[in-house]
């Protein structure tokens, strides 16, 4: 374990001088800097915040902090779900949200270069205005793209287009010693040594601080169609997925959700979108599927083939969503699940496990049954197309201490089961502070030591985001 120094008044003055007007200290530091979206993993306020304006300020900060062994934690919009941006050892938080410029489009090379604090929503909209699409589509649209890269965020379109990792061509990074370097290039393939950019992607701010990103874009599909597919229960819905995948229909998104979470989301948004009873049958679960393409007739033909398959496999009906407002309403309902759960729940935690597709149905049944046995309310949804499940543990009645105890017990059982069936601890939210224990148990000592070795090469003083991912406390 590393030892850190505290910030002296002299050091704070040095930091202020390194970024005049952009440094917050003491009472000026808002409570928001002490947590992300999952405060259950603990909160901690930093001693100093840098609202960074450019790479040079960050570099100057890192030189001072590295020389004095001051812990530094990078923060985007604070929308993470594993406590990744919480400065658990205090020290400095470097916030990137002011570095929010889209710097340059290079449409001949299908790329855009941005600062890390650009919000996902703003990038997506700006690309669409140019007829291009940035395919990664995590549910939290107000996250920064830098944060998405740091966790290798996935999202709804990952089943067709892959995750954030697949769209990072190059990046500029400030290393813990303050050096500024670049990884990757605006090319479509490389065999040029170790992929250092791929080490940074998903490293959750533990290896370096991203200060610029060049991202791959694709021509925007001209048309999208979604299908709402109601089922009697979740097991019937999920058991359709392998057959659906085998039919090679190339869905852009393939999501599952239970009735309860739809009801929560519709209450939250004040709008009823999904059918609850059809053909005399109560709906217990849904698949939500999207196809995209350039030609409406071709898309409808795919939707029709999909519908035949889904109805044969036990769907109650298949509803078509192809009008702009209905598409917005449908996907707003899907995108508001977390906010809806938060609005109705006093205490919550989440498991973002990813399992092989054929294991989804069995694993979800296991998760629900185990939740009941552990005395927890379980709400689940996720990406049926890639096996990434979001299983929420909720309580409005328990004391926090009891809730945490029950969730710990639940996670021990659940992550063990996930690993035994070939899964991994996190599909897209990362490890942060909350899942270090389960990552260690699932990967084993050899792999954790390899990770720590890499960490040591980048950050020998272990000042960058301590307490996260593979940190040994």
């Amino acid at each position: 374990m590393a030892t850190y120094n505290t910030l002296t008044p002299e050091l704070i003055e040095q930091l202020k001088a390194a970024a005049p007007g952009h440094v917050l200290v003491g009472a000026d530091i808002n409570d928001d800097y002490s947590h992300d979206e999952m405060p259950i993993y603990g909160t901690k306020a930093p001693d100093v915040v840098l609202q960074a304006a450019n790479a040079e300020e960050i570099s100057a900060f890192m030189k001072i902090c590295n020389a004095n062994k001051i812990p530094v934690t990078t923060r985007g919009a604070g929308t993470g779900l594993v406590g990744g941006c919480v400065p658990v050892y205090g020290g400095v938080v470097i916030e990137t949200t002011k570095m929010n410029k889209i710097l340059e489009y290079d449409l001949e090379n299908f790329s855009v270069t941005i600062e890390p604090g650009v919000l996902l929503q703003d990038l997506a909209e700006d690309c669409l205005k140019r007829g291009m699409m940035y395919p990664p589509d995590p549910g939290e649209k107000l996250a920064t793209v830098g944060g998405n890269v740091s966790t290798n965020a996935g999202g709804m379109r990952a089943v067709k287009y892959g995750t954030t990792r697949d769209y990072v061509l190059a990046m500029k990074v400030v290393l813990p010693n303050g050096d500024i370097t670049s990884f990757g290039a605006k090319v479509s393939k490389t065999s040029s040594g170790y992929s250092l950019s791929n080490l940074i992607i998903g490293s959750e701010g533990t290896l370096g601080i991203i200060v610029e990103l060049t991202l791959k874009l694709i021509p925007a599909p001209k048309k999208t169609i979604s299908l709402i597919v109601p089922y009697e229960d979740l097991e019937s819905a999920i058991s359709t997925v392998p057959k659906f995948k085998m039919a090679n229909l190339d869905p852009q998104a393939l999501e599952f959700m239970e009735r309860e979470i739809i009801l929560s989301s519709e209450r939250y948004l004040g709008r009823e979108v999904f059918p609850k009873k059809l053909n005399g049958q109560d709906v217990g679960a849904y698949l939500l599927i999207t196809f995209d393409g350039q030609d409406e007739d071709e898309l409808m033909a795919r939707a029709e083939t999909a519908a035949e398959l889904l109805l044969d496999a036990g769907a109650i009906d298949v509803m078509v969503v192809d009008e702009p407002q209905k598409l917005r309403d449908t996907w707003a309902t899907r995108s508001s699940f977390l906010e809806a759960i938060e609005a109705e729940t006093k205490l919550l935690d989440e498991c973002d496990v990813v399992v092989p597709i054929k294991e989804i149905a069995r694993f979800l049944t296991f998760a629900k049954k185990t939740g009941e046995e552990c005395g927890l309310i379980i709400k689940s949804f996720g990406h049926a197309g890639d096996g990434n499940l979001h299983i929420y543990q909720c309580s409005n009645d328990l004391e926090k201490e009891e809730f945490v105890k029950r969730v710990d017990n639940y996670f021990e059982i659940l992550y063990k089961e996930a690993v035994e069936c070939g899964g991994l601890v996190s599909g897209e939210h990362g490890i942060g502070r909350g899942k270090v224990k389960y990552l260690t148990e699932s990967l084993g000592d050899v792999n954790m030591e390899l990770m720590r070795g890499i960490k040591n090469v980048f950050d020998p003083n272990l000042i960058l985001n301590p307490g996260k991912v593979c940190y040994q406390s």
Binding site: A27, N30, D31, L227, I228, R271, E272, V273, P275, M300, A303, E304, A307, L311, D317, V318, M319, V320, V321, D322, E323, P324, Q325, K326, R328, D329
Partner: protein, 262 residues
């Protein structure tokens, strides 16, 4: 009961519209065209009515190429028949001329339908022009009873009870048939089509008529749009964020009182 609904195709109202700097008119070329939201509420209300009480729903639209796709979408969610009226002479006009043309088109629709309509519905306004005049003017042209902003219709012998939404609550009107109503947002949303209805609707052939086919004579126009102006851009707001919520509220109150808002 035979119900006719006039539907307008409008630019997707979820997209912000700006003026084309060269032409000085709204630039909607790249915006998806959809059925006016209030017209879709009218269709859902009518579809629910005939499902409960029997009858048929016809939708009709004046519009350019592409309007037939919108009408097919409406067949998938409750309309039994659809007619499209397409003619260069229909592209110009004001609310008076539109209502006059629609009044003339009712006869053509009835001839094609093989039965007269007991009720004619329009959305209470369109989401692009938002004048809210056409339904009332249509009733005047046809000399029929008219109720605006209706959200519920119930049968009462050979009459209809129309529940009108007002700022204060509701007013119930009884009218003879035929009648013209404009429809506001009921307490439900238009349905989603299922795949079977959608695919069947895509194969539908929409009868299309020119002004001459429909026997529409020139319609008088009284108002000419002189120019469009974009609203001024809103200035950036003031961000108030104190450590405690109560302090934030207090500071906001202080500013509102100082600026005499409160």
């Amino acid at each position: 009961m035979e119900i006719l609904i006039f539907v307008k195709q409008v630019p997707d109202d979820g997209i912000e519209v700006h003026l084309d700097p060269a032409a000085g008119t709204p630039d909607t070329a790249k915006i998806d065209k959809i059925a006016n939201a209030f017209d879709t509420y009218a269709l859902e209300l009518a579809a629910r009515y005939v499902e409960a009480n029997g009858g048929n729903v016809t939708v009709a639209a004046i519009g350019p190429d592409g309007t037939d796709s919108m009408l097919k979408n409406l067949i998938a969610v409750g309309a039994k028949k659809a007619y499209l009226f397409k003619d260069p002479s229909f592209e110009q006009g004001d609310e008076a001329s539109t209502a006059n043309r629609l009044a003339q088109l009712v006869k053509k629709c009835e001839a094609e339908n093989g039965a007269p309509y007991d009720l004619i519905l329009c959305g209470k306004e369109s989401t692009d022009e938002i004048s809210g005049q056409v339904g009332a003017r249509l009733a005047e042209e046809l000399s029929l009873p008219f109720v605006s902003s209706v959200i519920e219709i119930t049968p009462d012998g050979d009459k209809l009870i129309a529940k009108q939404e007002t700022d204060e609550g509701y007013i119930k009107f009884e009218t003879a048939m035929p009648a013209v109503y404009t429809i506001a947002k009921p307490g439900y949303d238009p349905r989603y089509p299922n795949i079977k209805a959608k695919m069947a609707a895509r194969k539908a052939v929409i009868p299309t008529f020119s002004a001459a086919d429909a026997g529409v004579s020139e319609a008088p126009c009284y108002v000419e749009c002189v120019s469009y102006t974009e609203p001024p851009k809103r200035e950036a707001g003031l961000k108030i964020q104190e450590k405690e919520v109560a302090d934030t509220v207090a500071k906001a109150m202080e500013i509102l009182i100082k600026d005499k808002v409160l």
